[in-house]
């Protein structure tokens, strides 16, 4: 019936009608349909096909004239498709569906605009969604413990050292538990590790929590299988029982339902499993341990440890005496109590204990809400990041608003005509809203994809001390928020052009299309300039924030740590006491331990490329433990001295980490278990406790042993790179007690550390196939992990600032390009009158410079007010650091110059004749 390809025939005769291919398509379609019917009509009248085709085509007449006539009649610029009419009674939903379909079609028609807007918004939404996902999972989601707001951590304090978060002694814990009325209950735990020897496969180290029987019920945690410990089992000499984590249950027992009653081999001891605890039962444990002044157990080793085994503490007050502080204490407040009433009561109790027992001298109490302990270190950085990413989203919105305004101008005529024809404002607004809804939803969808990708990187990069960081994912709440943000953005910035256009009268709008410099045009120009200025200002704030953090990170990386981590490999082992005896009556001559160490070190030293190898108690950024101490002859004075960090090091330690001995001598092989006991102090100790004296030759005393000082070494930043070195004393490893058999080996080598790691594992396996080597990594990585939070916040803020700068540049470019197009006529006349190109370029550059300068000034002022929130994240840099503030000026200046240069070039290339003819 339809005969030939009418569209093709029409298209062949009308090559190009308007500037918009999509619009051309519509015209061709309409004409073709006409010809189809004409053709049918001619056939009806009895014409043969060829005649019918010829006559129908004849209607196109002079095709050149037709194209020109159509072009002059068709509206300039892209014409929006009209909202379709659908049969049947119009309902609101019907209309909405139409509006959305229509909106989608409009966006497909202007792909350039749509893709720019969607990409920009998606970037903003993606980044915001990713960060919010972290905030949501970490801070906002319900915690697995019942009544977290009633849970507290009961710390001990030490007035001598000024430390406020110390663990408790077992006797203190028992006394407090009996005397307190402000608490419903208490529980205590001690972080430890055990070597798990499975029936098959390599042995591994597991984080283990030694708990009092009341701890797990105190937290409100219920086992998935089996039961928890009873009070009867929690006594010295009680049975070897364990609760295992859901993870271990899965990994070792494939979730076997009959796991209760079976055994696992921990540190060579068969231990009966009495139950399985749900996956998040170790909630908050890492943060409590990390907050503790010492006794942090596995939290110092691997920041991402998850507790796999819970063992009954079975505390013996004859072993865990009152001046030993291994126990972290949690308490649940009684219904009537508050943290402050509990603090008051505990202060009284601790004062009584202090009066009663000499070893409680200077010890007090600090009751802290558990929620604060768990979240305090991350709350600040996370909210800062959320605020920063919010700024990025804001900039993205500003850019889209800019795009929409520019588009609003080209669509002004459409809106004006439709308004004049009686389209109600409601309808127009809804139309624009629908169009922007489509835009927003597309952005949100793409944004979620971006977020998912970003989140993976984020979680991998995230500092491990963020609670629940492994549980971060995009969930319903986050999705809803992303959609809401997108919707708001779309609605707010989308409707503005509709309202703006509506304000104008038809005549003015139609004329504005033709004449430049109309009031409406200028108004819009001003609005867009304001948007660009605010965009630049926001970017300035972010760039300065990032700059401060970069400088802080640079300071941290250049801090003199005292030791040299480069080219050093770290590895850890734990010698089980069943085979490596360290009986106190033999102290410190633990033959089997020393034999193992000496033999392993001998083998390590023989490896190619190895310069030095040492055994230590703790690696250089592990704070280790501290103890009270005295200088022989100054016992009275020493009562108020703070505790000193005790470093157990092999004689080759100083050489291995290149720690300089400033006076006296280093340790040597002759400082063995049976030789006279010696020690080396750090410079801080020498300065604070031996002012104006030579400490070398004096004796210090702790652990019941006098140790002659033989040397002074430089300070090592053992509390972390951002903190000052505390007083520290080094003792030969061979003359120190075994800390439960835990040892660290450090190897300095010019050979690749991966090779050394392999050789080290092999050497340990040869010496003792049942030993697990763990924590094996370059020491530089250990150091880097100790500043992971700072680095994380910095990296994120830097990438946000980068995105902000790019978006601001796009904004400047967009506004100026548009201005150049608008001023084509004027620029054309100027050039025709002989204005040099330089002059015309200058005009555009000046406009760009003005926008940038105003944005810079506002941004600098804003940054001055806002960067204060970063203070706690900065090391060695003030929040108003001059260089960071000064550096932003040339940086944004150059970016703005580049963004301005392109439109300026375009202005010069304007052909004066053409520009004036178009005008």
């Amino acid at each position: 019936m339809s005969g030939p390809d009418w569209r093709g025939l029409v298209r062949a005769r009308l090559d190009r009608i308007t500037d918009d291919p999509a619009h051309d398509e519509d015209i061709v379609e309409e004409l073709a349909q006409h010809l189809v019917q004409r053709y049918a009509e001619y056939l009806d009248r009895g014409q043969d096909q060829r005649a019918a085709v010829r006559n129908a085509l004849g209607e196109l007449d002079d095709t050149d004239g037709l194209a020109a006539a159509l072009r002059s009649a068709a509206p300039r610029g892209p014409v929006a498709p009209q909202p379709p009419i659908v049969g049947g009674a119009p309902s609101m939903w019907n209309d909405l569906g139409q509006d959305i379909r229509y909106g989608a079609r409009i966006l497909l028609r202007s792909r350039g605009f749509a893709s720019a807007a969607v990409l920009t918004l998606a970037l903003g939404i993606g980044a915001t969604t990713a960060i919010f996902s972290v905030v949501n999972a970490v801070l906002l989601r319900p915690v697995p413990f019942t009544g977290l707001d009633r849970l507290t951590v009961v710390w001990q304090t030490d007035r001598n050292t000024g430390t406020v978060r110390e663990p408790s002694s077992l006797p203190d814990f028992l006394d407090v538990k009996e005397r307190s009325r402000q608490f419903d209950g208490f529980g205590g735990f001690d972080a430890s590790e055990r070597t798990l020897t499975p029936l098959e496969g390599e042995p591994s180290r597991l984080p283990v929590l030694l708990v009092t029987h009341d701890l797990i019920p105190l937290f409100g945690v219920r086992p998935i299988l089996g039961r928890v410990f009873t009070a009867e089992e929690d006594v010295p000499g009680g049975p070897e029982l364990a609760l295992i984590s859901e993870r271990l249950w899965e990994q070792q027992f494939q979730r076997a339902q009959d796991v209760v009653g079976r055994t696992i081999r921990l540190n060579d001891v068969e231990t009966e499993i009495i139950g399985v605890l749900p996956a998040d039962s170790d909630f908050g444990i890492m943060q409590i341990l990390r907050s503790a002044a010492y006794a942090r157990g596995f939290a110092d080793r691997d920041l991402r440890s998850r507790v796999d085994v819970w063992i009954s503490l079975r505390g013996d007050t004859r072993v865990l005496v009152r001046d030993t502080h291994p126990l972290l204490v949690a308490g649940r407040l009684a219904p009537s109590a508050t943290v402050s009433t509990a603090q008051a009561e505990m202060t009284t109790i601790m004062a009584d204990l202090e009066a009663q027992y000499p070893s409680n001298d200077a010890r007090g109490v600090f009751v802290e809400a558990m929620g604060d302990v768990v979240f305090s270190s991350v709350r600040g950085p996370l909210w800062i990041l959320l605020a920063a990413v919010g700024l990025v989203l804001l900039i993205a919105c500003v850019n889209v608003a800019n795009l929409l305004l520019a588009r609003g101008t080209t669509r002004l005529r459409e809106v004006a005509v439709r308004a004049a024809m009686g389209a109600p404002l409601r309808r127009l607004v809804r139309q624009f809203a629908a169009e922007n809804l489509v835009l927003a939803l597309a952005s949100a969808a793409l944004g979620v994809v971006f977020a998912a990708v970003a989140l993976r990187g984020l979680v991998a990069l995230a500092p491990a001390d963020i609670p629940r960081v492994t549980e971060v994912r995009i969930d319903g709440v986050v999705l809803a928020l992303a959609a809401a943000v997108a919707l708001m953005t779309g609605l707010v910035f989308g409707i503005v052009p509709a309202l703006q256009a509506r304000r104008l009268d038809v005549q003015g709008a139609l004329k504005a299309e033709e004449s430049r410099g109309s009031t409406a045009g200028r108004e819009r120009g001003t609005l867009r300039s304001i948007l660009v200025v605010s965009e630049v200002a926001l970017a300035v704030v972010l760039v300065i924030g990032a700059g401060l953090l970069i400088k802080s990170a640079w300071r941290l990386s250049h801090v003199d740590a005292g030791f040299l981590a480069a080219s050093v490999l770290k590895a850890e082992v734990q010698l089980p006491s069943s085979r490596y005896r360290s009986r106190s009556d033999q102290f410190p001559n633990f033959v089997s331990v020393h034999r193992f160490n000496d033999e392993l070190l001998r083998r390590l030293a023989g490896l190619p490329g190895v310069e030095a190898a040492a055994v230590v108690g703790n690696h250089p950024v592990d704070p280790g433990f501290q103890n009270s101490w005295q200088v022989v002859g100054r016992e009275e004075e020493a009562r108020t001295w703070p505790e000193i960090a005790i470093r157990r090091v092999g004689p080759t330690y100083f050489e291995t980490v290149r720690l300089t001995v400033s006076t006296g001598r280093s340790f040597s092989d002759t400082d063995g278990p049976l030789a006279p006991t010696v020690s080396i102090i750090n410079e801080t100790t020498a300065r604070r406790f031996f002012p104006g004296q030579d400490p070398v030759g004096q004796e210090i005393r702790f652990w019941g042993v006098n140790r002659r000082i033989v040397g002074v070494v430089r300070d090592e930043k053992i509390l972390g790179l951002s903190r000052e070195a505390p007083p520290a004393v080094y003792v030969p490893f061979a003359q120190a007690p075994s800390n439960n058999g835990s040892e660290t080996f450090l190897v300095r080598s010019s050979a690749p550390l991966a090779t050394i790691a392999t050789s080290l594992r092999a050497a340990v396996r040869e010496l003792d196939p049942q030993l697990a080597v763990f924590g094996i990594q370059p020491l530089t990585q250990t150091v880097a992990e100790s500043v992971a939070r700072e680095r994380f916040v910095m990296l994120l803020l830097v990438s946000f600032a980068g995105v902000a700068v790019v978006l601001a540049a796009i904004g400047i470019h967009g506004v100026l390009s548009y201005a150049v197009v608008q001023r084509r006529h004027e620029l054309g006349i100027r050039m025709a009158l002989g204005a040099p190109a330089v002059r015309v370029t200058g005009l555009v550059l000046r406009q760009g410079a003005l926008l940038t300068a105003v944005g810079l000034v506002i941004g600098l002022a804003g940054a001055l007010a806002l960067t204060r929130v970063l203070t706690t994240q900065l090391y060695g840099v003030s929040a108003t650091d001059l260089t960071a503030f000064a550096a932003v000026v040339p940086l944004l200046g150059i970016v703005a110059l580049v963004a301005t240069w392109l439109p300026a070039r375009q202005a010069v290339r304007t052909d004066p004749l053409e520009a004036m003819r178009d005008g």
Binding site: L31, Q37, L60, L66, Q82, V506
Partner: protein, 105 residues
Amino acid sequence: MKKGSAELLILSVIENGQRHGYEIARQIELRSRGAISFHVASLYPMLYRLEARGLIEGRWVEKAGQRRRRYYRLTTNGHVTLAAQRSLWREFFVGLNRVAGLRNA
């Protein structure tokens, strides 16, 4: 044809309902009994011009099972303009008649 007569014709045939381009051309041919005919080359530029002036409104209409078609209908402005044009043309005809005695020719 007098300037503006084509405009009057088009506005008139869509006065009582929307029609697509071919229908408009066909209606004019039928009502004038073949005396007046519009070709594509003259009809569509005229339609677009009328649309740009806000007198008529073209919409793509989709009906189930059919290709979308562009329908034109009068806008409020169009109705007003048509009424004004009618009275103008009426006066013109009366004058023409008086001068040239067309009616009895």
